[in-house]
Symmetry: C2
Subunit: 237 residues, 2 copies
Amino acid sequence: MNIGLEKYRHYYETLTESELFRHVTHNSLNQLLEISAAQNWPKKTCILDTSHTLYTFHILITGKIKVYHFDSSNDRLLTLFLLQDNDVFDIFSLMGCGTHKVYYEALEDSEVLCIQVPLMKEWMKENPLVHKSFLSYTVQKMNVLERFIINVALEDIPTRLARLLYNNMDKSSRQYQSICGLSHKELGALIGTTRAVVNRHIQNFKEEGILEVSRNQITITNIHLLKEKLLEKRSSY
Amino acid sequence: MNIGLEKYRHYYETLTESELFRHVTHNSLNQLLEISAAQNWPKKTCILDTSHTLYTFHILITGKIKVYHFDSSNDRLLTLFLLQDNDVFDIFSLMGCGTHKVYYEALEDSEVLCIQVPLMKEWMKENPLVHKSFLSYTVQKMNVLERFIINVALEDIPTRLARLLYNNMDKSSRQYQSICGLSHKELGALIGTTRAVVNRHIQNFKEEGILEVSRNQITITNIHLLKEKLLEKRSSY
DNA sequence: CCCTCAAAGCTACCTAGGTAGCATTTATAA
DNA sequence: TTATAAATGCTACCTAGGTAGCTTTGAGGG
């Protein structure tokens, strides 16, 4: 990597804070940075080509990246993950698990470290302890996926939407962190439905006094009512 | 472990064939068996108590075990995984990822090795290479989950059912392996719907000449028609 | 400043799939 | 054997959510 010293420090310190590289020596961390290429992905950059997804491993330094699947038959997106600081992708290609087809899009300006898969494999071989961290990380992600699938398969859309809002709300400030500023279409992709349906239920929530909408921003006005949405389940049947 | 020599050999050889323990020394594998307790879970045994799920790690030697979530509000099951020989569970508890609530049920008589989580952690610490195998294994499972969620969120039930049948059919013999003998209710749990709906579509498939039904057994009569079900998607809209 | 386009709001329609209920068949056990 | 329970097949009903199409709003760029 050939960059300014300040940038380098910035990357270095971010990696230090990551649980993935916590037990890696300073020396090894520097070696990792040596084989990395830093890239800036501006907002709305869409990464589609396989050189990125199949042969490159990525570390997200700052920003927000959406991992999604595209279904051509009904023209719909499904967001599998929202990656934040210190997330890594794509472990699938790292493990030679080649058949999964996902796309990436930067939802905010993002700094990304790119590492060729063979180089990364080499580095991991010399730092075998990271396998443990990666395992822990992957299991956590799998837990997220597991809950996701249970939601999509067993819960109706008002419940899923309420859960999405609730989970992403900072309980004290009632502000949103990760899903702040997303369009209804993006919200739909996050819970497995379309923008029209999301909009419909947001209007319902508004009427019920759960939230208020003001240009590109959803504000929860009654957190208790929101929470009730999660618990009521389908008892109306 | 205190068992007959033959059983011991049987377990040992099964583990040797597992990709999870491929690079483990004979000595370590014996140590693993030493801290294991062998159990036989008869068909339809349902494991619910947390001593099994939360504090014990399991290796499935022979048999078939269903990992499922139960939703009390609408009284429905969702099968997340069908575990076969040499599968392991539950990695979540091993990684201290305590919040996932799943149940286990033996669909066939199963031989299981049970290992206390602290002992397993100790053993893994002395055999750090297994973290790599476990990582690879977990990533593969995650890939399965990822495809599952895409199916459930974006595809209709005829497609999901057709895919389930197709994936679990031995293409040459047209026999089923893993889902053979499952009830419509079980099939529903595998694709995220109810038995009534599964039955409805099986009747449709029958009328279309895709399959035949004879007491607890589904036989595909036209594999091409079945495959078309997968590809036609929702073009009828 | 206006122009453009995406996002949001809303109406109307339709169908896949969830539900309820029952009758029939098959399996398991007493 | 009979009895009990489970699995299957089938009917009828209903509603959540997908779709189409349009208007309104507002943000960002020239």
